[in-house]
Point group: C2
Chain length 245, copies 2
DNA sequence: TAGCTCATTCTCGCAATATGAGAAACATTG
DNA sequence: CAATGTTTCTCATATTGCGAGAATGAGCTA
């Protein structure tokens, strides 16, 4: 292992359940000598990717917050979408959660969310958390629009997605431009998602609204679906006009 | 230049005003051959630190959002502080903005903020934006508690901070445990900040409330100062009990 | 389809740099 | 002051990244 990999390997050790590491533990886990890890860690600390916690422990550094801001300010999808997201959530006028999510390798990641006043629940799609591609309206709206080659590769990896019924469902999503699912990720909520397409390679996203099952009758879902699709179109326009091409 | 530096040099090219770069431009700016930059960029894209935009352009990648979430979930100061921050803002009951900021190299960076309903302004201390150490209550509350050696080093770099009056002011802040400033960063607002101290090396932060000058009479400032200091103490306790030592 | 223009990857010899094991320095604590 | 644990340093080795240019590939245009 060398170059960037060594640094990334250290950063990828960090997780919600283990947020502090000693050099010793890193070295053992990665199978490299301590002296090497010390050097790596020292470099990462120098660039604020890591910082010293108490007593020989290291945790993630604040540089990520700094770059996250830069991303919020400059990412075309975020700049075009977060405003629309707020508006759509406000416009539908029901206690719901709005999500702006995008394809992220073989996962889906939320990059912005908006909670309507009165919403007493939250979505598992929290900002920055990679989610599976094959479950939930938010994800399936994206999956349905993957290029065939990649679509098949993904499908092959998730056993539960290899059925003919699943393929048919996604075809329907692709046709109708909206995906509705109920309780697939979080119990007792319904997700309504519309894909956001763009000519930019690799930029594939979805706008979705999540609402309690209790208020999600057919009429409501139809209304939410219309709002979601309109919002998605709106964001696509914003992307196109911002030079996102 | 080698190792991490080369990668960081590329990432540091990105700014709010220039958020997309071609390899050619990077190479020219950094003074290294294109082939080298291509390699570097390829590695960064592979780890999602960069992503392809349209037409040979690259922009920052979403990995920062992913790690930002990890930080929000696990950083001791954030986990101990964001809750308190909300509470303090809600408790004072005036249209204000609450900030949780920390020392970040020789700058101050906001890591969490909370806006009270009705606040029609915002602070320059937006989350993730490095701010100078010598201006604004938020920053000076932190500066006043830097170890002497480092304090002097910082002071020397900012010409406007080399006066005796400035040193005296900071001494007073250190004694009283609160710093109040008016219009130093943003016009027409008053900042009230209390330092957050911890035994963790390098962890130095402040909790501050920003409110319109129009409502900031002496009585109000005194009340806000008390609330801010109480909140800061509260966060310190949270830090200590969470093993933050 | 041929021919053009970019963007990106590849080739290869060379020099720079990371590597790893252990020792030395440094800090803390009893 | 000894003892423990952390971090940096030393040094010989060889892995790896480097740089210049060529080769590939993807779009376009005619």
């Amino acid at each position: 292992m060398a170059g960037l990999d060594r640094y990334i390997a250290v950063l990828r050790l960090y997780s919600q359940s283990q947020s502090e590491w000693t050099v010793i533990d890193m070295a053992e886990r990665l199978g490299v000598p301590q002296s090497t890890v010390y050097r790596t860690v020292r470099d990462l600390v120098g660039e604020n990717f890591l910082e010293t916690a108490s007593e020989a422990r290291y945790r993630l550094g604040s540089v990520f917050i700094e770059f996250d801001r830069l991303l919020r300010l400059t990412d075309p999808l975020l700049t075009a979408g977060s405003q629309v997201l707020e508006e759509v959530v406000a416009a539908v006028g029901v206690p719901c959660v709005g999500l702006l999510c995008r394809l992220y390798n073989d996962t889906v990641m939320c990059i912005a969310d908006a909670t309507a006043p009165g919403a007493t629940f939250s979505s598992s799609y929290e900002r920055g958390r990679p989610m599976p591609l094959t479950m939930g309206a938010t994800s399936k709206a994206i999956l349905a629009h993957l290029p065939t080659r990649r679509f098949n590769r993904v499908i092959d990896q998730w056993p539960e997605a290899r059925t003919q019924a699943f393929r048919a469902e996604l075809m329907a999503v692709r046709k109708s431009g909206v995906c509705v699912s109920s309780g697939e990720i979080d119990a007792n909520v319904v997700g309504v998602a519309a894909p956001i397409l763009s000519k930019t390679p690799g930029l594939l996203a979805s706008l979705s609204l999540v609402l309690p099952q209790s208020i999600a009758d057919d009429a409501m879902v139809a209304r939410i679906a219309a709002a979601t699709m309109a919002g998605a179109r709106h964001i696509e326009e914003g992307l196109a006009s911002s030079g996102g091409l």
